[in-house]
């Protein structure tokens, strides 16, 4: 008797005008699992991520969360199902500090007033949990390095106790040390029982932590690889189309 998957998507299709961004894609993430979504640019990875986040709605297909059929009509709906997303642009407010960014849109209030000290305390905790070298949660985000901003964006996902975290290129433009932090953090999310969708061009990072690697090519699923058995070369072949799955 196994639990239903955390996230299950079937026959997902999406078009933008004449462009078919996703064609009949099946995708699934279980609890306590890291699934990597890889593929060339315009393969459809970010399109799929936006559908999971509730930002876009698929043209067709069904989505289940923990076995319950759902419609992720808005990002707030996705968040209510415990889906947290960090997009590539990070979407941080440059004019605000670290704490304000972490709680943006989900500020904690007490008697109608912002619970500043409480949020600052939580922010400190999240940053420490991520081993982020950001000494003060009141630092303006505009003063932070690329890696530090990534940490703030990821810290945002901790608010609201998510069950699924989608990360779009989390290690791009990070130093080795920062990459190590983020990968270790992703592993700890898995240990806590969360599901993680990891979109990345960096196959070494992906193969360091992913349980399964799904390859998208021109909007279609072109292979699913279970690390560590599957060789690097096989995944590359699926990304470039040297090998194709018959549809």
């Amino acid at each position: 008797m196994t639990a239903p998957p955390l996230l299950r998507m079937q026959h997902i299709s999406q078009s933008f005008g004449a462009v078919q961004a996703l064609i009949d894609v099946d995708f699934q993430v279980n609890h306590h699992e890291i699934v990597a979504l890889v593929g060339d640019n315009a393969a459809g990875k970010s399109t799929l991520a936006r559908i999971i986040a509730g930002v876009d709605q698929p043209a067709s297909g069904t989505i289940w969360i923990n076995g319950e059929a759902v419609t992720l009509s808005r990002s707030a709906v996705a968040q209510s199902y415990g889906i947290a997303t960090v997009f590539q642009g990070l979407a941080l407010a440059e004019n605000l500090d670290v704490t304000a960014n972490i709680f943006l849109g989900r500020e904690v209030r007490e008697h109608g007033l912002l619970a500043e000290e409480y949020m600052e305390t939580l922010a400190r905790g999240y940053l420490q949990r991520l081993n982020a070298r950001i000494p003060s949660p009141r630092t303006p985000v505009s003063h932070l390095s690329a890696g530090q901003r990534q940490c703030v964006a990821i810290a945002r996902t901790l608010v609201g106790e998510p069950q699924l975290i989608v990360l779009d290129e989390p290690t791009a433009s990070l130093s080795v040390s920062q990459t190590a932090e983020v990968l270790t953090y992703i592993q700890s999310l898995r240990s806590l029982g969360l599901g993680v969708v990891l979109i990345s061009h960096n196959l070494t990072d992906v193969r360091a932590v992913a349980d399964r690697i799904d390859v998208l090519r021109h909007g279609r699923l072109n292979g699913s690889f279970t690390a560590p058995h599957d060789a690097y070369e096989g995944i590359i072949a699926a990304i470039t189309g040297a090998t194709t799955i018959r549809h």
Partner: protein, 403 residues
């Protein structure tokens, strides 16, 4: 999530605010301690950041930093932050940095310490199962530079680097002997390559040997001259300390107990022989046996579930202990060690893994007739290979200093 976040790192801030002990000096001490904790946590931190991080006023921070400077506890140097000049505060360290590196099967671990073996910075990077030599050595060099510069130091201050790898090292050539184990690792003089990249002395050895060295210098093997150290991780290996010295053998393969014969009819091992110990207790064998009932597991999953009480996982680990126990018992009969120390990930399950080894060892009448041979878990646990690598680096530095 709420309570956990409050528990994490907030307590010392709260403590500071409700400070009630009256005297000035007690307050100064508490503030000093808070400041040092922040410096220790961040490696290198500017005075402005310290004020933010501790909640102390910039004036107080300045005063305390001056006191700590005078006492020789911290060092300062000028740096830039957001385009402005700032004073970077770091812990003062005895001159000379040591770097310990453990290249594991699934992770790269680096620690930077001072010559007193106080770890100043460390980092672990997860790696894919077939990570390639060129990428991993690149990352080793880059990560070392990042950690050292994060301390406000330069690589010129490094006096020695020790590297442990999960394969036997030929002492003459400095290369990995067992080519089949790691892709693209054969024939590369690892120490020379890293030494050229960082312009420092580097020494490489097998990671079980490093872990044994670590336990001998800092852990459970202190005070013993004859120790059988067993390391059970993705594969199993041993470090043999005989007459106070780590025994490597002329080709560096001494201690490869993962390749002792357990079953003449057994499966073929990656080394080419049949029925090696690793074919029974290597991570693949452990995980395959649970695939049908529990699906694909990682080594970490297996250990977590066993510690949580899962009977299938506990059985697999206990059986591994029993098999390793046979090999260890045989070795103990031959070597007559004073103590057996067990480390590596499988030892995290404590007695689940250790009891079967203990039982197998002491079933040998020759061993248990006069006295029980103690089988103990290593003290350094997951840090053993890195700490051993630091000790190895220190030995190298002393040798180099007198060269």
């Amino acid at each position: 999530m709420r309570d956990k976040a409050i528990g994490l790192g907030y307590s010392h801030h709260v403590a500071g605010k409700v400070m009630s002990s009256g005297s000035q000096s007690a307050l100064r001490e508490a503030n000093s301690a808070r400041l040092l904790t922040a410096v220790r946590r961040f490696g290198g931190i500017t005075q402005v950041e310290l004020a933010d991080a501790t909640g102390l006023s910039p004036a107080t921070v300045s005063t305390i930093v001056k006191q700590l400077l005078a006492a020789g506890t911290v060092e300062t140097r000028t740096t830039t932050r957001s385009g402005r000049r700032a004073q970077l505060v770091t812990l003062a360290h005895k001159s000379g940095l040591l770097v310990g590196v453990h290249v594991g099967m699934r992770a790269l671990e680096i620690a930077v310490a001072d010559s007193g073996f106080n770890v100043l910075a460390n980092q672990t990077l997860p790696l894919p199962s077939d990570h390639r030599l060129d990428t991993t050595l690149d990352r080793t060099a880059l990560l070392t530079v990042e950690l050292v510069e994060g301390l406000g130091s330069t690589t010129a201050e490094i006096v020695g680097i020790g590297i442990g790898v999960p394969a036997p090292i030929d002492p003459q050539a400095g290369t990995i002997r067992d080519q089949g184990l790691m892709k693209g690792w054969g024939d590369v003089p690892i120490a020379d390559v890293v030494s050229a990249r960082l312009n420092t002395p580097v020494a490489v050895d097998n990671d079980c040997n490093m872990a044994a060295l670590g336990e001998a210098r800092f852990g459970a093997a202190r005070g013993y001259r004859d120790v059988l150290y067993v390391h059970s991780s993705y594969g199993t290996g041993a470090g043999l300390i005989i007459g106070g010295e780590l025994h490597r053998g002329p080709r560096g393969t001494a201690g490869e107990i993962g390749h002792v014969l357990m079953d003449p009819q057994g499966p073929i091992c990656r080394c080419g022989s049949r029925g090696c110990l690793d074919t029974l207790v290597g991570v693949q064998a452990l995980i395959d046996s649970l695939r049908i009932s529990q699906g694909p597991l990682s080594l970490g999953d297996l250990l977590e579930r066993a510690s949580a009480g899962d009977p299938g996982c506990r059985q697999v680990i206990a059986d591994a202990g029993a098999a390793i126990g046979v090999a260890v018992a045989n070795l103990a009969v031959v070597l007559n060690p004073e103590i057996v120390i067990v480390g590596g990930e499988l030892a995290q399950t404590e007695d689940v893994f250790l009891e079967p080894i203990r039982a197998a060892v002491n079933r040998r009448v020759l061993i248990s007739r006069d006295d029980t041979l103690e089988v103990r878990r290593g003290e350094l646990q997951s840090l053993a290979p890195v700490q051993g690598a630091l000790a190895f680096a220190a030995d190298l530095a002393h040798v180099t200093a007198f060269a």
